[in-house]
């Protein structure tokens, strides 16, 4: 089993267009998707991230306000899963409700180890 982080970007503009009913339905789909992963005991946790924020850069530790890039590039949240390989991680990600939005993306990254070698 390997750990993968699914990183969600985009979809914000589209979400803002949704009616309260549509939003609720959308939240239910997140619930079903995450609940499904949890039921297979492959869910390790995850959270949406609030909009805005700060960025520290380089040796000068220059502090800037977010949002720092185009809307579709803003990290909106993450889910940590434990699956056998990248194929399975991709397969699970296909069900992610972020992909209901045209600009939504899921970036799938295996969690690694820092190494001096």
């Amino acid at each position: 089993m390997k750990d993968y982080l699914l990183l969600f970007r985009g979809g914000d503009a589209e979400r803002k267009q949704l009616s309260p009913e549509q939003l609720e339905a959308n939240m239910k789909r997140w619930q079903q998707w995450i609940g499904g992963i949890a039921q297979q005991e492959k869910y390790m946790g995850g959270q949406p991230l609030e909009a805005g924020g700060k960025v520290l850069t380089g040796t000068s530790k220059k502090l800037t306000d977010g949002p720092f890039m185009e809307g579709k590039e803003i990290l909106g949240g993450y889910v940590h899963i434990k699956v056998s390989d990248m194929d399975e991680a991709v397969q699970i990600s296909e069900g992610c409700p972020i992909l209901e939005h045209e600009t939504g993306t899921v970036e799938i990254r295996e969690i690694g180890t820092m190494s001096a070698q």
Binding site: W30, Q31, I34, G35, G45, P48, G77
Partner: protein
């Protein structure tokens, strides 16, 4: 608007009634290890309600209002505390932790159909086999009946401190064991229901026997016990014959409630009670429950006690009571549950059917009589027997011994009256 007494009394009644329901629901959602937090949220809801209702008046549907506010507060607590406290059970835990799923999961858990059985689940959790009887009843009073620690202390004739400690230990047990809020499986349900019925019976007896003088608490205890028993009859898995039998028993007893005390709070004994004051509607209701209890092939102690109460409630006068039948039921009761209290009550029936000499023989033949000697009814009965044997000196001695053993003012007074009657 000032706090009018009317508002306060409406609100108190409503709160006591609703808080048990809300605590049960929130404890299921939060997980039983967070029972205290559930109580806090409900308490906080009641405070908010009182503050707002003072200004705006009581809303049209106060129960619904309370419930919505409690749910909102509970959801906020989860959102705020989710990184410090684990909420929910094995299944819901992860979903109540993620911002993606908290709200939807919470809403699903708080749906009406799920709520229906929450008080029942809570009752089974409170009557966990590893908890002592008194802890079970204490927890039921606190969580399901909305009693304050002070009121529970009065019920048990003990200090608030004792009750606080008892509650703390019980909740600690919930935290450590992660007691599941569930209705037991079919295989377990019979045994587990016995414990629940026993607690309800104790609750009722606390209210029915005048061991403490606070009329209001006694009445609430009776109502709550009957309500909890009624829940059991409403669930298909728990509507056992003995549940109906207990409900019948409680109805029979409480039908006589208004005739048992004078307006000054003095006890009126059965022969002197004004039978026109009995609640015949409730006796009718009790009869119906008896019919529903009459299936299956086991006779519980509740069946027999209800049958005895039936004989008393349907006799036109004390003299016309079918004591022979009452005695038969006591014999039977003693066979399936040979307690000393039953033995004592059996002697009361013998006294009526066979007279004081035979009654005295039976009383002296009760095995292990020593234990009865701390019990006021034992001496009160000895006094009664001796007074019927025209032995005034012994009768007086026994009534005096009985007075020393009861803490109830009403009972003390009743016994003093008996002594006064002897000396006339």
């Amino acid at each position: 608007m000032p706090e009018s007494p009317q508002l306060l009394s409406t609100v108190n009644h409503l709160f006591r009634h609703q808080s048990g329901k809300m605590v049960a629901v929130l404890t299921r959602i939060f997980g039983s290890h967070n029972i205290e937090l559930a109580e806090d949220v409900v308490q906080d809801t009641l405070v908010t309600a009182l503050e707002q209702w003072k200004i705006k008046g009581i809303p049209e549907k106060p129960e619904a209002w309370l419930f919505i506010v409690a749910k909102n507060k509970a959801l906020n607590v989860i959102k705020k505390q989710r990184n410090n406290i684990l909420f929910g059970d094995d299944e819901t835990q992860v979903l109540l932790q993620s911002g993606y799923t908290i709200e939807t999961t919470f809403k699903q858990l708080a749906e009406e159909e799920l709520i229906k059985d929450d008080q029942l689940r809570m009752m089974f959790a409170c009557c966990h086999p590893q908890l002592s009887e008194e802890s079970q009843v204490t927890l039921i009073l606190k969580t399901l009946c909305g009693f304050s620690t002070a009121e529970i202390a009065k019920t048990f004739l003990t200090s608030e401190d004792t009750i606080s400690k008892r509650l703390y230990r019980t909740k600690e047990f919930f935290r450590q064991q992660k007691v599941k809020l569930e209705i037991p499986s079919v295989g377990e349900i019979k045994n587990r229901t016995d414990a629940v019925l026993n607690s309800i019976y104790l609750l009722f007896n606390e209210g029915y026997n005048s061991t403490h003088s606070e009329e209001l608490i006694r009445k609430d205890l009776i109502t709550e016990a009957m309500m909890l028993c009624k829940f059991l009859t409403e669930n298909i898995h728990t509507q056992l014959p003995k549940v109906y039998a207990l409900l019948a028993l409680m109805c029979f007893h409480s039908s006589r409630n208004d005739s048992r005390l004078t307006s000054a709070g003095d006890i009126i004994l059965l022969p002197m009670q004004d039978r026109s004051k009995w609640n015949y509607e409730m006796i009718e209701q009790a009869n119906e429950y008896m019919n529903q209890a009459a299936f299956g092939n086991t006779i519980s102690t509740y069946h027999l006690e209800a049958a005895i109460a039936y004989e008393h409630c349907t006799a036109e006068s004390f003299a016309q009571t079918n004591w022979q039948k009452v005695l038969e039921y006591y014999e039977w009761l003693y066979k399936i549950s040979p307690s000393q209290i039953t033995a004592l009550n059996r002697v009361v029936a013998i006294l009526q059917v066979q007279g004081p000499t035979v009654a005295l023989q039976h009383l002296e033949a009760i095995p292990d009589k020593k234990k009865l000697e701390s019990f006021y009814l034992y001496y009160s009965l000895l006094g009664e027997i001796h007074s019927q044997l025209y032995d005034k000196t012994m009768a007086q001695k026994y009534f005096e011994a009985a007075i020393k053993l009861t803490q109830s003012k009403a009972e003390k007074k009743m016994l003093k009256n008996k002594i006064a009657a002897l000396l006339n």
